[in-house]
């Protein structure tokens, strides 16, 4: 029985890894194909979205949500300049000009920093909230128990026979 389980697990893991690799390859191929047509965008995004990539690469474990939070704010900082590029001069020079402006990088990286702050602060806040609601629930339950003892005496604490 144990042997069967031991054999089954690697097979499943291998299949899942194969599927994921294939998808990633397809996405990378499509992106690579698009590069010649939107090189300025790619350049701008490649440099301004570095914190997002860093967040994605640095986080371990099952719940990898940092890149979404950091990435969201990072993108929010970049999007006005990206629109400027798209609706202005969509060239590689313009892209590098933008990258050379301190304000662009400051917005992009500053926003991602806020994202990190948000991502770091949110779990303790949620924990405090949960703790607060739990304590209230326990207090309410104990109050109910006290009322039962007052109404029915100490015998009510004992488990019923039925």
């Amino acid at each position: 029985m144990a042997k069967k389980k031991f054999q089954a697990a690697p097979v499943k893991k291998g299949a899942a890894a194969g599927g994921g690799g294939m998808n990633k390859a397809v996405v990378l191929t499509i992106l690579a194909a698009l590069v010649p047509f939107s090189l300025p965008t790619v350049v701008l995004l490649a440099f301004t979205m570095l914190p997002t990539i860093g967040a994605w690469a640095s986080e371990r474990g099952n719940n990898k949500y940092a890149w979404l939070c950091v990435g969201g704010l990072n993108f929010a900082g970049v999007i006005p300049y990206l629109f400027g590029l798209w609706f202005g001069v969509h060239t590689l020079d313009e892209a590098f000009n933008l990258l050379s402006e301190a304000g662009v990088l400051l917005w992009a990286y500053g926003a991602s920093g806020i994202g990190w702050l948000l991502y770091t602060a949110m779990p303790p806040m949620v924990s405090s909230w949960l703790s607060f609601t739990t304590d209230r629930r326990v207090a309410a339950l104990k109050a109910a128990q006290k009322r039962l003892v007052e109404d029915w005496g100490d015998q009510v604490v004992k488990k019923g026979h039925n």
Binding site: L68, G72, V138, L148
Partner: protein, 660 residues
């Protein structure tokens, strides 16, 4: 004062009317002060014959001193209530000064039929019609009712157990063998035998057997027959020989009955009965240093020396004697069978005792039940038990008699079927059932009241009260409640419970079993139920002291309700009902099945709720780690969603600004 009518003068004793167990005093009737009466004050430790008192009260019979009234009365010299019986006071004296006196008044042979036989036969007839026996017919209990000595009547027979005061001479052989407290009510035939002996005394004017002790007299009656023992060579009028032979016949089946007496009184002469003697053995049976030549005598001797009697029977000597010396092979075989069964039996001591009891019955089937020195007629066990318990004696032997079904052995040995025997046998079976249960309402006390239907309740709770009927019990407890000192004491003890069980017309054994429940609330409810039923059926409507007593004990019943609100409500309601003196209402308040079920189900629901809350608190408090992980996951997800939303918003705003 008895029944607010008869005054008994404790300073005016009448020793000439006293009986061996009851002292006589002058009594006065308020309604008729000239009426000559005397009262007999019964001994408190002696069971009296209340059923006889009931039957005799007011009965006018020339052969009986009239019993005017009876009842329990506070008797100050004794410091308690005593049964008192008031009789019409005879003008003359007793015909014989005392039971053991050698002399008595002689009644002329020409007068004796008119003065003694006719009235006494009429009296016995009347008693028989009322279903009772006198059992105190003796010369010393006959009174001259007038100055001229024309009317003779029988005195008291109700202040002691049946035949308790009867000298051996006046009792049949069988009754004489029984302990005097256990002679039983017997039958009219026993009364007729006593009448026969009384006639012998009166005809002779003396006690012909005064020189003999009881043992010698019994032995002689067995050996020579009662007639020969009492009359012997005395010369009696011929007509009376026939009568006395008929009355003193030792075989109860042949003894004269009322019809024969009527025939004799009407002048018809019957052929005198010939005495049949017990078969004599060819050689004597040596036992305890003596030799016995007939079975009856041997059985009587063996019953007197119980332990010595067992070995020769077990060794087969008795069987051999019966076979060879008595030449009664049938009886010998029966004894051999009983002995063989005993040798194969279990507990040797018990089996040997029962074996000897059976063998004695075989040797003398008409004798009383004889077991380890206790000799009793079957209907005398009750009065014997009452006397032993009243005198605080050892009841072990009597309990053994009932538990080992000794009377059954006696009933099984009867040759002919008698409905009375069958009834008594089934009663003894019931008594065994009561005795095997040890709780309140059962045991020997229950047997006591079952066997003595007129015995007053012996409970110490009732103090000096004389309670014979169930309807008197609650008022007596109500009176006792006012005097109680121990607030935790229950208004019931072994005697009260047994008295209720025996006297209640309906079967209350189920309630009595509940009364012994280890759960105080259940036992209290059982007691309240009994008291409530008795108060409802028998009254009185108000028993304030008893209600206060049970009200004070009601805590377990109140506590049986789980709801505190309900308890408060009951505690508030109880004092009101106590003031009303109604045990019935207290019971109804505490025993409301609907309320109790509701309380129970609501309590179960509350318990479930408490447990659910407890479970949830435990679950919440035990999942600290999980909650931390959950908080981190939710926090990260929230942050991610927030990031995405901000991205979307900024994109939207940028698009809108560009388009405008």
């Amino acid at each position: 004062m008895l029944r607010d009518r008869f005054t008994i003068r404790s300073n005016q004793p009448l020793p000439e009317f006293s009986t061996p167990n009851a002292e006589a005093f002058v009594a006065e009737d308020k309604r008729d002060p000239k009426r000559a009466l005397y009262a007999l004050i019964c001994r408190p430790d002696m069971p009296v014959r209340v059923n006889v008192m009931r039957a005799l009260k007011g009965m006018l019979n020339p052969g009986l001193v009239q019993l005017v009234e009876w009842g329990a009365m506070t008797w100050s010299p004794a410091g308690r209530q005593c049964m008192t019986v008031i009789y019409e006071r005879p003008i003359g004296k007793r015909l014989m000064a005392g039971p053991r006196s050698p002399e008595c008044r002689r009644v002329d042979e020409y007068d004796i039929s008119r003065k003694v036989v006719e009235p006494l036969v009429a009296a016995i007839k009347e008693l028989t019609n009322r279903g009772i026996t006198h059992r105190s017919i003796r010369a010393s209990n006959l009174f001259f009712m007038d100055e001229g000595g024309e009317r003779i009547a029988l005195g008291d027979c109700a202040t002691a157990p049946p035949a308790y005061d009867q000298p051996m001479a006046f009792e049949t052989v069988e009754s004489g063998m029984a302990n005097n407290v256990a002679r039983g009510s017997g039958s009219f035939s026993d009364d007729l035998y006593s009448l026969g002996v009384t006639l012998v005394f009166l005809l002779l004017g003396r006690n012909p057997v005064a020189h003999m002790d009881d043992e010698a007299l019994l032995k002689m009656k067995i050996q020579q027959g009662s007639y020969s023992t009492l009359v012997g060579d005395e010369r009696l009028p011929l007509a009376f020989i026939e009568l006395l032979r008929g009355l003193l016949c030792d075989d109860p089946d042949q003894r004269w009955d009322i019809e024969s007496l009527d025939l004799w009184l009407s002048g018809r002469r019957l052929s005198p009965l010939q005495q049949r003697h017990e078969k004599r053995a060819a050689r004597g049976f040596p036992f305890n240093g003596k030799e016995y030549l007939n079975c009856r005598e041997l059985a009587a001797a063996m019953s007197r020396s119980w332990d010595l009697a067992i070995p020769p029977v077990l060794e087969g000597k008795l069987e051999l004697w019966l076979r060879r010396a008595v030449e009664d092979k049938e009886r010998a075989q029966a004894v051999a069978d009983v002995v063989r069964m005993a040798l194969n039996g279990g507990d040797k001591r018990v089996v040997a005792d029962l074996m000897l009891c059976k063998v004695l019955i075989m040797l003398d089937p008409t004798a009383p039940i004889r077991y380890k020195g206790f000799n009793s007629m079957p209907d005398g066990v009750g009065s014997a038990l009452a006397a032993v318990m009243a005198q605080k004696g050892d009841t072990k032997l009597l309990a053994e008699v009932i538990l080992r079904e000794v009377p059954r052995l006696w009933f099984e040995a009867r040759k002919s079927y008698l409905p009375d025997n069958s009834l008594m046998d089934s009663n003894f079976k019931e008594l065994k059932g009561y005795l095997t249960q040890t709780g309140l309402g059962f045991g020997l006390e229950r047997c006591l009241y079952e066997m003595n239907d007129a015995l007053p309740c012996q409970s110490t709770l009732l103090g000096e009260e004389y309670i014979v009927e169930l309807k008197e019990l609650l008022p007596a407890l109500n009176a006792a409640a006012a005097k109680r000192t121990d607030s935790k004491q229950w208004p019931v003890d072994r005697h009260v419970a047994a008295f209720m069980g025996a006297r209640a017309r309906s079967d209350i054994d189920r309630n009595l079993v509940q009364l012994n429940d280890s759960e105080p609330s259940r036992s209290l409810m059982a007691l309240l139920n009994l008291f409530a039923v008795f108060q409802y059926r028998l009254g009185p409507e108000q028993l304030p002291n008893l209600a206060a007593w049970v009200g004070a004990l009601a805590q377990p019943a109140v506590a049986a309700f789980h709801s505190r609100e309900k308890r408060k409500e009951l505690e508030k309601e109880l004092p009101k009902l106590v003031r009303r003196g109604s045990v019935v209402e207290i019971y109804n308040l505490l025993d409301n099945p609907g309320e109790r079920d509701k309380d129970q189900s609501e309590f179960a629901w509350a318990q479930a709720q408490y447990q659910a809350a407890e479970e949830e608190i435990r679950r919440v408090q035990n999942n600290e780690d999980d909650r931390g992980k959950e908080a981190v996951r939710i926090g990260k997800q929230t942050a991610a969603v927030t990031g995405i939303v901000i991205a979307l918003l900024s994109t939207t705003i940028t698009v809108i600004m560009k388009v405008w």
